[in-house]
């Protein structure tokens, strides 16, 4: 076969089959197209404004490394006039972050960006290793997940930075759309499709501060495969590792579907993202009317970091099974004429929770307020992180923690009410 020419410049030999649309491009054209598209995303969505300080949530992985590199390039090329800094979170798991934090430190030099590394100990007073020591291996995912969700915002607030960008890419967004359809969570589906989300500040020193931490995803429309290609061709220094946790069942399922879809039709990832954006407007009670600002407020608080789903790690297949149980119970109750409607199902539950009878609930809309303790966005008086911390601190002298870790995942049910469930399930099943 004769070597084909680049579809854009028609001069160089095409060396790259572009994952997004299978066009054949030369290396310089691919790099330029990739950058131009992200510039386009930034400008059409007016993500940045001149003079803004922007913290890049940096993990040392491919997404955030490419994000940092591209943003530096674009900021210089198009004179955005923004100040870019790197913000990394250290969970305090011995050995886990060492290599990736080294990568981030090198990135800081390479891109000449100031770097701040904040540890869980600084943000919460506990490292993950200490949490594990306290609660044991079993319940610690809950802590890591809840803490992780708030860490970047708390970190940014501490630095006085009002805008955090993350490396979420098109694959992550598409995965989240399918996952929320599978989990039946429309409110979250509609929130997480927005390119910009925001959460009230977590500044605890100033309870009157209601400044929002804005979060955005400049790579929202960029394919993961293209991010890898870009990193490769630009010789970027990133830390490639599989997340040590396997994704929970729904995310794993959605991820597998996305990979297969991409194989069948390369545009499918983008098409799912488009569907997600359109569906967000069709969710009853959605706040699209206000420009998406209200609706998107919660998203950042709920999004997993870096798309590795690590917060939900250990329950894998169990998560689907427990949701199945929960739903089947509701169906049965409904068939027996009980007035029960499920509006949303807890994201995940430990085994003990399986048979928990559904709380009768009719309203779809959660009222989001602020945590009384830390000011972070929360549907409860006190946010999950603060509840967990309270539990930890109370038991600072080593002590067994029983119920809290499992129960907190269901934001609507209280701390109690976990143990009775099992018996009820057995009655229905045998």
């Amino acid at each position: 076969m004769a070597p084909s020419l680049c579809a854009i410049c028609a001069t160089n030999r095409a060396l790259i089959l572009r994952p997004k649309d299978h066009s054949k491009l030369c290396k310089p054209c691919f790099v330029s197209v990739f950058e131009t598209e992200i510039h386009h995303t930034i400008t059409t969505n007016a993500l940045f404004h001149r003079g803004e300080v922007i913290a890049i949530g940096a993990s040392g992985g491919k997404d955030s490394t490419v994000l940092a590199s591209v943003l530096k390039t674009l900021n210089e090329r198009y004179d955005y006039g923004v100040e870019l800094i790197l913000l990394s979170i250290d969970e305090g798991i011995k050995g886990y972050r060492d290599d990736s934090l080294e990568t981030v430190k090198r990135n800081a030099l390479q891109y000449e960006m100031p770097l701040t590394i904040l540890g869980y100990d600084e943000l919460y007073g506990w490292t993950m290793d200490q949490v594990v020591e306290q609660v044991g291996k079993k319940g610690n995912c809950t802590y890591c997940g809840v803490f992780r969700r708030q860490a970047l915002d708390r970190g940014a607030a501490r630095l006085g930075v009002k805008h955090v960008v993350t490396g979420h890419n098109a694959d992550d967004v598409a995965e989240t759309v399918l996952m929320n359809l599978l989990r039946g969570d429309l409110p979250r589906l509609s929130r997480t499709t927005s390119i910009v989300t925001s959460t009230p500040s977590a500044v605890s020193s100033d309870p009157n501060s209601h400044t929002n931490i804005k979060r955005s995803k400049p790579l929202k429309y960029a394919y993961e495969k293209e991010i890898v290609l870009y990193a490769h061709h630009k010789n970027l220094d990133y830390f490639s590792t599989e997340c040590i946790y396997s994704p929970e069942a729904f995310r794993g399922s959605a991820r597998a579907l996305i990979k297969n879809l991409e194989r069948v039709r390369p545009s499918a990832i983008l098409d799912v993202v488009r569907s997600g954006e359109d569906m967000a407007k069709l969710v009853p009670g959605s706040d699209e009317g206000c420009g998406g600002v209200c609706a998107s407020a919660v998203a950042a608080a709920e999004e997993g970091e870096g798309g590795c789903g690590s917060s939900n790690g250990r329950t894998a297949g169990g998560e689907m099974a427990s949701m199945e149980m929960h739903l089947a119970q509701n169906d049965l109750a409904a068939e027996n004429g009980l007035e029960v409607e499920i509006t949303s199902v807890p994201a995940k539950k430990g085994k003990k929770n399986k048979g928990q009878p559904p709380a009768p609930r009719k309203t779809t809309k959660q009222v989001m307020g602020q945590c009384k303790k830390c000011g972070y966005l929360s549907s409860q008086d006190v946010c999950k992180a603060c509840v967990l911390l309270e539990g930890l601190n109370k038991n600072r002298p080593k002590h067994e923690i029983g119920v809290v870790d499992e129960a907190q995942e269901d934001s609507t049910s209280g701390v109690q009410g976990v143990t009775n469930g099992i018996n009820k399930v057995n009655i229905q099943v045998d």
Binding site: I8, T44, G184, R265, L282
Partner: protein, 379 residues
């Protein structure tokens, strides 16, 4: 297959009648054959409430169209409704509605059964209804006033006098992927069924989608970029086509329908044409896999252990609500779904980055929605 069920729960009594031995477990409930058949029957008839005898007009019989593909779902639906109508007639000497059955023959453009034999058998077994069989290309004849659909056929302007079969094959042959072909064939089939239903004055269409099918459709349409159209794809009631849609099998799983066909006596198997599961899976690795195939395979595996999750997907997508007033938006030339503000094509949204590049933007002059443009790119 029934053997599998028998060995599985042979020791357990039926949860409902407490007399017979259970032959299968339905959503944690062991049921005997009779109770299972009744369970499915009841689930279907419950969804036909609005067609009860007492709502019917003495002078004018209500007529509904039931498209049949000879798959387990549509045959089961016919079987149950036939039984239901007989009971109504015995009890009250009249029926709440009458059925028209339509088979659409797509064998000229895809691998499918031609239907002649099955049609004859079904007609003999369920003789009380009106039957028709139409080739898919009749869609061009029936929508002949809708020039926008005809405008999709390549080279039509130069060949004004193409016959309908030629128009169809010309359109399908212009498509470049299995997903696009399946998608366009499905859209044309829906259009034909609707047009036919209107032409014989049916007030609605009874679709044979099971819960599993609707879940599959939810994810497949999402994957094809038609998330915007979901309120009209899974919900019952007035459709954008100006005719009501009902899904009487929406509370029954696909695997339950398969069991229904197996367990019914006399057997319904002679009326069912279902490509064996192995056939679907064999093609999975090849180029011929479609998005619909992927989702079908996925949900048939999920329903094995997680039936309630399947139902929950349908319940979830049914909650999506059309924005009031959208039904007056311009319709897509192919699938006929209302496109908000007439924003046709794949351009002009956040994920479209072409206008910032040196790539020529081709006009979306065909009036296709986002999803249909992916199947029939404008060029």
């Amino acid at each position: 297959m029934p053997g599998k069920h028998l060995t599985f729960v042979s020791e357990k009594p039926c949860r409902r009648c407490k007399e017979n031995l259970a032959v299968l477990v339905v959503r944690t409930e062991p049921l005997c054959r009779d109770c299972f058949l009744r369970y499915v029957h009841t689930k279907v008839i419950k969804r036909m409430e609005s067609f009860r005898v007492r709502f019917s007009d003495n002078d004018q019989q209500r007529k509904i169209l039931l498209p049949i593909s000879f798959g387990v779902s549509s045959v089961t639906l016919l079987h149950i409704l036939d039984q239901h109508l007989r009971t109504q007639a015995e009890k009250t000497r009249r029926t709440g509605f009458s059925l028209s059955i339509l088979f659409v023959d797509t064998s000229s453009v895809e691998k499918s059964c031609s239907g002649d034999t099955l049609m004859a058998r079904v007609q003999e077994r369920y003789p009380d209804h009106q039957y028709a069989s139409l080739p898919l290309h009749d869609v061009f004849r029936l929508v002949d006033k809708d020039t926008s659909l005809l405008g999709l056929v390549p080279g039509l302007k130069s060949n004004q006098d193409l016959s309908s079969p030629e128009q169809l094959s010309s359109l399908i042959n212009s498509l470049t992927s299995a997903t696009a072909r399946a998608d366009v064939i499905h859209a044309l089939k829906t259009r034909l069924i609707v047009e036919y239903a209107k032409s014989i004055r049916c007030e609605g269409v009874l679709w044979g989608d099971s819960t599993t099918n609707l879940a599959q459709k939810t994810l497949a349409e999402t994957a094809k970029g038609r998330g915007f159209s979901l309120p009209w794809q899974v919900a019952e009631g007035e459709s954008p086509y100006g005719i009501t849609f009902n899904y009487p099998l929406r509370d029954v799983l696909k695997k339950e329908l398969v069991s229904f066909v197996e367990l019914s006596e006399p057997s319904m198997s002679p009326y069912v044409h279902e490509p064996s599961l192995g056939a679907t899976q064999a093609s999975m690795s090849s180029k011929n896999t479609t998005i619909d195939d992927l989702m079908k395979q996925y949900f048939e595996s999920v329903e094995e252990n997680f039936p309630s999750i399947v139902s929950n997907v349908v319940r979830t997508s049914s909650k999506l609500a059309a924005i009031p007033g959208t039904s007056s938006d311009p319709h897509c030339s192919l699938c006929y779904m209302p496109v908000a503000g007439g924003r046709f094509g794949i351009h002009g949204w956040g994920g479209d980055q072409e206008d910032g590049l040196e790539v020529p933007v081709v006009g979306g002059g065909k009036g296709l929605c986002y999803g249909c443009t992916r199947s029939i790119p404008s060029s």
